[in-house]
């Protein structure tokens, strides 16, 4: 057994001087929704840094070419932010479905990334939206990294000891008609660990009913979120019609086959992804798609 030193820096400068001088394993705690459980399970860092008082890390800032979100922003704040809801609906939808109200009031964006869980709700969305992750290493020389450069998955990140995620930035979409959506399947509606996640960002011209470019990612079918290029191809440049949903669902099933064939969860997930896919399309395009039972059950 060892004692864990704890510190509560009041601002970034204090944090940097604290962390740069510390030795041993450093852990950060913000909302504590993951870290408290990790500590209960026996995690014992040498220094636990409480960043919940760093108000300068809790912000959502809309800039001309990007939107910056502080790492200590709570998921409740993210889910209810008008700018995020309008510009990045997938992110607001994902935040809204994490845990329960109590968890969302404490859990933070940075924590969700740093935990890097296979079912981490925000992760596929951040990857889909091409988020950059800003990291403050112990030397105090912050830099931004692509999502894949930080989140390795299955609980692992590329963050060096004592490095803190400070913010994420989302590039502004080039075209106005770009929209995004998120869909998740768990055992329950609320307070549930995701078994399947889909996120998509598309250009959609409502007038012509045509989809332009597409980015589509999936979560919980591998250690880290994955971009499903084969599914993107099915949607990109496509006119939205009755066959779209069927082709989309088929492509999703094939993508799940490719990701987890042989795993115990495979037979279920390759079927259930059809339902998640239709939920995603409905949120993305604002209209419901119906499949015949055969198409749905045996894609």
């Amino acid at each position: 057994m060892k004692d864990i030193a704890a510190a509560v820096p009041r601002d970034i400068d204090e944090l940097v001087s604290l962390v740069s001088g510390a030795s041993g394993e450093i852990a950060f705690i913000a909302g504590g929704t993951d870290m408290v459980m990790a500590l209960a399970r026996g995690a014992s860092p040498d220094l636990l840094v409480d960043i919940s008082q760093l108000r300068e890390l809790a912000f959502i800032a809309a800039e001309p070419d990007r939107t910056r979100i502080g790492a200590a922003t709570t998921l409740s704040d993210l889910a209810e932010n008008a700018h995020v809801m309008e510009r990045f609906p997938a992110l607001a939808q994902a935040a809204m479905q994490v845990g329960s109200v109590q968890i969302r009031n404490r859990a933070t964006v940075g924590g969700n990334i740093a935990s890097a869980m296979p079912g981490g709700d925000l992760l596929p969305v951040l990857k889909c939206l091409d988020a950059r992750i800003h990291v403050l290493p112990r030397d105090g020389k912050g830099a931004s990294h692509p999502f894949d450069g930080i989140v390795l998955g299955a609980g692992r990140t590329a963050l060096a000891n004592g490095s803190l995620i400070t913010e994420i930035s989302l590039p502004r979409a080039a075209r106005k008609c770009c929209t995004s959506a998120f869909a998740k399947l768990g055992r329950r509606d609320a307070l549930t660990i995701a078994r399947l996640i889909l996120a998509a960002a598309v250009e959609y011209d409502e007038a012509s009913g045509t989809i332009g470019s597409v980015r589509l990612t999936a979560g919980a079918i591998g250690p880290a979120p994955a971009r499903l290029a084969s599914v993107e191809c099915v949607l990109a440049g496509r006119k939205v019609d009755a066959h779209l949903a069927r082709d989309f669902v088929c492509a999703l099933g094939a993508a799940v086959d490719g990701a987890i064939a042989g795993r115990p969860s495979h037979p279920y997930k390759r079927r259930a992804v059809a339902g998640v896919g239709l939920d995603l399309l409905q949120r993305l395009l604002g209209r419901a798609f119906e499949l015949t039972p055969d198409e749905g059950l045996r894609p």
Binding site: M1, A40, S100, L185, R187, R188, D189, A190, L191, T192, I193, P267, Y268, R271, A272, A274, G275, V276, L278, E290, L291, T292, P293, G296, L297, R298
Partner: protein, 752 residues
């Protein structure tokens, strides 16, 4: 009536929501030591050696306990009275561990952190033994239950219960239709908010005081004494406030250990399990697999039924030997069936130990019989409500096997009124949807008992004392498990004495001051203890009238007890508060106004219910949403309608979990519980709850207090079969393995 049939607020509700009520884990106790347990990671093994040197060396550790230095006395944690015969197959720490989660060792230290750290340093050398993880395989290991010296052999079956009545063979031969199903129910966990905890304190006189959130202080006292090989009077048990039990705390698990550690170390000791330990090492509902055949004629009359159930009770027998009989009884109290055959076997497996859980076998056997009955209705092309109405028992019939009277059994009203309120007929006839989201309607009936009569000493002893300030002190070994039984007893006493329920002071159950009582189990609180409370209150009322007659100078028959006062029906100007009367009597004759009454139950009527539900199944993901539930209950009288309604909401919550979500998921190769915490064991939370409508059928039961019958356990019994029947109705499937996980649902859909 003034105080019964009113929704009086729960007595300790304010203290609970404001955090003023201390549970045993939070009680400040000077010099408290902390115990931490080591559990077996393997399903079956002999312990070759335990190395405690490193653990013992940790600063702050007082002792390390294991099978080598603790009493080897066998006990059965379900025992509840002196001299009871039961399979005494448990020990504090066994030399052979029988399930992954069995107790191997314990460290007692100055702090919980030190104890937890040190217990991780205990090294155990296990010699692996073959494990039986499946109940059907378990049957093959048959033989005598004990050897020549009386030691348990762990052979199967623990018990083999059979009955038959009528001409079963003939009735099956002449039946128009026979429908057979094999229906399986999972092992599920109670998930009480308060995990298992206990404190034991050495008293100056050498006795051990056990503070326990339990369901029966006398059961705890007896089991602890037996485990410690000491006299029961050496153990004093006080029931602490309980953060939920549902049967999970019916059996003492930590108490024998805690008491032994405290006695050995002569310091108070606390053991408090965490959530995972509570899941893996305490108790759960037994798994049941039932093969059932039902014979009917074309009109839907059930002529015969044949039921064969195997109950997996896990590693230790506990009360498992009572389960098959308990199940069989339910099959004889709901429908009028010409002939029946039943066989129920309970078997040991090397999986977690099971025990009491709300309904005690009833949820399992009703899942088996009520799902099968819907399959019968389907074969007949008959409305399931209609099928049931043709076969239900009527009031005052007799159970053909036990000969017990069913009492004022109003199950027909439950079904008829429930179906009407729910709009059953329209929902049932609605054509099956072929879209993604498919709705279905389902229903199920249930019966349950009211106490243990005619079993072992089904009696309750209640004492009442009128204090000089007008308060009425109630003494009874009563264990409010959080559902409000104290409130209900207070309302009953208040009704008889015409005082506000808040003036009834109920002491915590304490073996030093209470008369023997079975404790909170078998849906007996309101029906048996409530009747004892009503009777002693009547007795106290008569005593009050006799004393008042002397003071008021009138005939006893002229004394009125009303509104907290006594007065003479003539000359109402002399009106004396009850407290003043008590004070006067204490001053003049020095004796308190108190009475005690032991009431032995004289009947065991059936409580009945019918639940109706509508579900929506996502045919693409296999997810089920329970949209609506109407619960119709034959309750005699709802003494406290809001608390009764609360019981039913909670029963529905557990029942939906049983139908759709919950399974501790014992790994078929290692025997380990895979769903060992809330992350992997989904329960029904508020967002999953349907709209609930409760209907009380209040036709008085003459043997119950003010006509009341039990509702606590039956509230959960019809839920699961109703939900399963609704899913099968929605999809046209014949799902028979609970819980209906999305995987099972999609598989069944694919097979259509």
């Amino acid at each position: 009536v003034k105080h019964v049939s009113t929704s009086h607020p729960i007595l300790d509700g304010y203290e609970k929501v404001t955090g003023r009520l201390a549970y045993v884990g939070d009680m400040p106790i000077g010099g408290l030591l902390h115990g931490s347990l080591l559990f077996s990671p393997v399903a079956h093994a002999r312990i070759r050696a335990i190395d405690v040197v490193q653990a013992q060396a940790v600063s702050g550790v007082l002792a390390v306990f294991h099978h080598g230095n603790t009493p080897d006395g066998g006990y059965n944690s379900s025992m509840w009275f002196e001299g009871q015969q039961a399979l005494e197959d448990e020990r504090m720490f066994p030399p052979v561990v029988r399930f992954a989660g069995d107790r191997v060792a314990a460290v007692v230290a100055e702090t919980r952190e030190i104890a937890e750290h040190a217990v991780g340093l205990v090294e155990v050398d296990y010699e692996s033994l073959p494990a039986i993880l499946d109940p059907e395989t378990a049957l093959a290991r048959s033989g005598e239950l004990t050897d020549e010296s009386g030691n348990p052999t762990f052979n199967n079956p623990i018990i083999d219960v059979r009955f038959d009545y009528g001409d079963v063979a003939r009735d099956f031969d002449s039946a128009d239709i026979v429908v057979e199903d094999t229906i399986a129910t999972p092992k599920t966990h109670h998930c009480a908010i308060e995990s298992h905890a206990c404190v034991a304190v050495p008293e100056p006189d050498g006795r051990i005081l056990v503070l326990s959130p339990c369901q029966s202080i006398f059961s705890v006292q007896y089991v602890v004494a037996k485990a410690l090989k000491t006299a029961s009077s050496e153990i004093r048990v006080i029931k602490t406030p309980i953060g939920g039990s549902f049967g999970g705390k019916a059996e003492p698990i930590l108490e024998p250990l805690c008491a032994f550690f405290a006695r050995t170390l002569q310091r108070p000791v606390k053991i408090e399990l965490d959530r995972t330990e509570t899941f893996t090492s305490t108790r759960m509902r037994s798994k049941a697999v039932g093969r059932i055949r039902t014979a009917v004629d074309r009109t839907g009359r059930i002529s015969a039924r044949d039921t064969d159930v195997i109950v997996d009770v896990g590693a230790y027998s506990t009360g498992g030997e009572y389960l098959p009989a308990s199940m069989s009884q339910r099959l004889c109290r709901l429908y009028r069936i010409d002939s029946q055959r039943f066989r129920g076997r309970a078997v040991y497996t090397n999986t977690p130990t099971t025990g009491a859980f709300r309904g005690y076998g009833s949820p399992q056997i009703h899942a088996i019989s009520e799902i099968n009955l819907d399959n019968v209705a389907r074969r007949l092309g008959m409305d399931p409500v209609e099928l049931r109405l043709r076969n239900l028992v009527e009031p005052h019939e007799t159970d053909p096997v036990s000969g017990l009277a069913l009492g004022n059994a109003r199950v027909r009203e439950c079904v008829e009124d429930g179906a009407a309120w729910f709009g059953w007929a329209d929902r049932w006839r609605r054509p099956r949807s072929i879209g993604r989201f498919r709705r279905g309607a389902g229903m199920a009936c249930a019966t349950h008992i009211n106490g243990c009569f005619p079993g072992y000493h089904e009696a309750a002893t209640v004492g009442l004392r009128l204090a000089a300030d007008g308060a009425v002190h109630l003494t009874c070994a009563v264990h409010d498990l959080g559902c409000g039984s104290n409130t209900v007893l207070a309302q009953i006493v208040a009704e008889v004495l015409d005082v506000p329920p808040a003036r009834i002071v109920i002491s915590a159950a304490d073996t030093d001051i209470c008369g023997y009582d079975l404790g909170t189990r078998a849906s007996r609180m309101t029906y048996v203890c409530g009747e004892a409370a009503r009777r002693v209150a009547e007795k106290l009322r008569e005593r009050i009238r006799r004393e008042a007659a002397l003071v008021l100078n009138c005939a006893v028959s002229d004394v009125l007890v009303e509104d907290g006062h006594v007065r003479s029906s003539y000359g109402s100007e002399r009106r004396l508060p009850l407290g003043a009367l008590a004070a006067h009597v204490e001053r003049s004759i020095g004796a308190p106004i108190e009475e005690t009454e032991t009431f032995a139950a004289v009947a065991n009527p059936g409580s009945y219910a019918a639940h109706f539900t509508e579900v929506e199944v996502d045919s693409l993901t296999g997810r089920v949403r329970v949209l609506e539930m109407l619960a119709s209950h034959d309750i005699g009288r709802a003494v406290n309608p809001r608390l009764a309604e609360g019981q039913i909401h909670g029963g529905i919550q557990i029942g939906i979990g049983f139908a759709l979500f919950e399974d501790v998921d014992v790994c078929p190769s290692t025997g380990r519980v895979r769903a060992d915490g809330f992350a992997r064991y989904p329960i029904v939370n508020t967002p999953e709850m349907p709209t609930v409508q409760v209907l009380f059928i209040e036709r008085r039961e003459s043997t119950g207090p003010f006509g009341a019958k039990a509702v606590g356990e039956i509230a959960t019994i019809p839920v699961a079969p109703a939900v399963v029947n609704a899913v099968n109705h929605a999809l046209g499937t014949r799902l028979t393995e609970l819980p209906l996980t999305p995987e099972r649902i999609l598989e069944a859909c694919a097979g259509l």
